[in-house]
Amino acid sequence: MTAPFGRRSCEVAANEVSGGYRIFSLLDREGPLPQPGQFYMLASERSWGEGGGRPFLPRAISVAEAAPAKEGVRLDFLVEGVGPGTDRLCELEPGEGVWVTGPLGNSFSTPRQVNPEAAGAILVGGGIGIAPMAIWRRRLVEQGIPLRVLLGFRNEAHSGGLTELFCAGGTLCPDVRLATEDGHAGHQGYVTDLLATMLAGDDAASAVVYSCGPPAMLEAVRALCAEAGAACELAMESPMACGFGACFGCAVPKPDGGYMRLCVDGPVVRGDAVAEVAHA
């Protein structure tokens, strides 16, 4: 399945505050349903680069949820305002236009595609990186694949999306475990502590791990999985101007030397197909 050629205008259907983040929805009248793990390049039609000249480039944002809607597809995105581009996306008003290119990139493989012997999936999300875990979790649940979801947050101000994406009727879905650095909910510590405990079990190698989150967390997940012999797929992030292979900006080192372009070779990358995840 390919993306419609060029950018298109989509209307903002909603934009709500969620924890310290925002969740906004677009109505996409032209595009296909995205696959879990895919992303879009987004820029508001108005007030993008006026005045101070930034934001200038569109921003790559992973899709958190997608569903057929009247007259198209509803796309949900989780954003945290951390700079001029995401700040502007946080301010979107219903009815405004957003330039959209996508869906772009590859998507998660099912556990059996990764390992024919796989018994289930472990999803590990951190911070804003819980977004692609949400759409992937929903798809795996629909397919009846056994799973555990481990989500980590610094504190309540960085727990946006949890209620909307991982709760049913106001209650956390039973397959979800939390870890928070300040201990306000769940295990006090890192989400990778929970993963380490799970992977210490006898059947660790029969689970396929999927993860998205800050680089230091992804590196910890990659290393834990490599040690435990569990296959993993990481949804990664890299500075990206175009999203379709044109700019060569999103280079990620490969273990055997050279670089991949994360936009067309990712954003979902097998743990053994990437060198150590670079983090500060």
Partner: protein
């Protein structure tokens, strides 16, 4: 119907080298890309004699109305290009211009002979923003180096040779004149402007390479003036580029005398930008704001 160095084009908008990977774009967007191809000719990413991995990240950085890049010319090398990429680029519905770069005259000659000998290739663009390993000088910053390179390459192919000029010189027109005297068929300008930024968090240079090249609307007035200076000094047809984002922008360059315009950074923001700009030119959407 523009005629550029004997190549018939359907409109005056092409791409800047290194800003569009038509092979990757076809995988992302499918054959819609071919049906609605945004450019009237396709300029390849620069090919070097041997494969290059490109620079260590971080490679790009957003700036006001533009961006910095230091990509480092990742490419498969001549052999890989001819074997893997050229057959796919030959399927594009427009003439193909191949950009080449080497660090000495012998290797440049090898590239021009090998690429110029292929029927799929309509013209060759010479990326001269590189050092000559013998002299240590950047070829495109030195009129004498540029003229000598063209004199060496001119006899090797009957295909049009386009020299991509660097803006990082005091007098780009003198380099254009040297290219003309050496036998070039056209020049294209501008390449990116040498520039840098500091990452406010790390307080280190934002790009791993320390500096990079600035592109986008921020450079457009500079590009336009360099185009005018070159046009005043040579008879060569000129491909004008630098921050062109709309039909109105393209009209500025064409009105100043450019034979063609090229779109680069705007394609990152809109994969179909070339087609949009060509359409805006054709339908005169630009006419209102263009008051020269």
């Amino acid at each position: 119907m523009p005629d550029f160095c004997g190549i018939e084009l359907t409109h005056p908008v092409i791409n800047a080298s290194g800003t569009y990977d038509a092979i990757a774009a076809r995988k992302v967007f499918g054959d819609q890309l071919l049906e609605d191809f945004p450019f009237s000719a396709f300029v390849s990413k620069t090919i070097t004699p041997e494969p290059r991995a490109g620079n260590e990240p971080r490679r790009i950085w957003e700036t006001p109305a533009g961006m910095l890049n230091s990509i480092g010319l990742p490419n498969k090398g001549l052999e890989g290009f001819l074997r893997e990429d050229l057959p796919q680029l030959a399927e594009l519905p427009v003439p193909l211009i191949v950009s080449v770069m080497a660090t000495n005259r012998e290797q440049f000659a090898h590239l021009v002979e090998a690429v110029g000998g292929r029927d799929e290739v309509a013209a060759i663009e010479l990326n001269v923003s590189c050092p000559n390993v013998h002299s240590g000088l950047i070829v495109g910053e030195q009129p004498a180096e540029t003229e000598a390179l063209l004199e060496a390459l001119r006899p090797l192919t009957g295909k049009p040779l386009i020299v991509k000029l660097t803006p990082n010189v005091a007098d780009p027109a003198s380099v254009a004149v040297a290219a003309e005297q050496g036998g070039a068929d056209a020049v294209s300008l501008i390449n990116t402007l040498k520039a840098s930024a500091i990452d406010p968090v790390s307080r280190e240079p934002a790009l791993a390479a320390g500096h990079g090249g600035l592109s986008g609307p921020a450079v457009r007035p500079i590009a336009l003036q360099q185009l005018r200076a070159v046009l005043a000094a040579t008879e060569l047809p000129v491909v004008g580029m630098g921050g062109i984002s709309s039909g109105a922008d393209a009209a500025e360059f064409l009105t100043a005398g450019a034979a063609l315009v090229a779109v680069g950074t705007e394609s990152f923001r809109d994969p179909r930008a070339g087609a949009r700009i060509a359409n805006e030119l054709e339908t005169g959407v630009y006419e209102a704001p263009l008051r020269l």
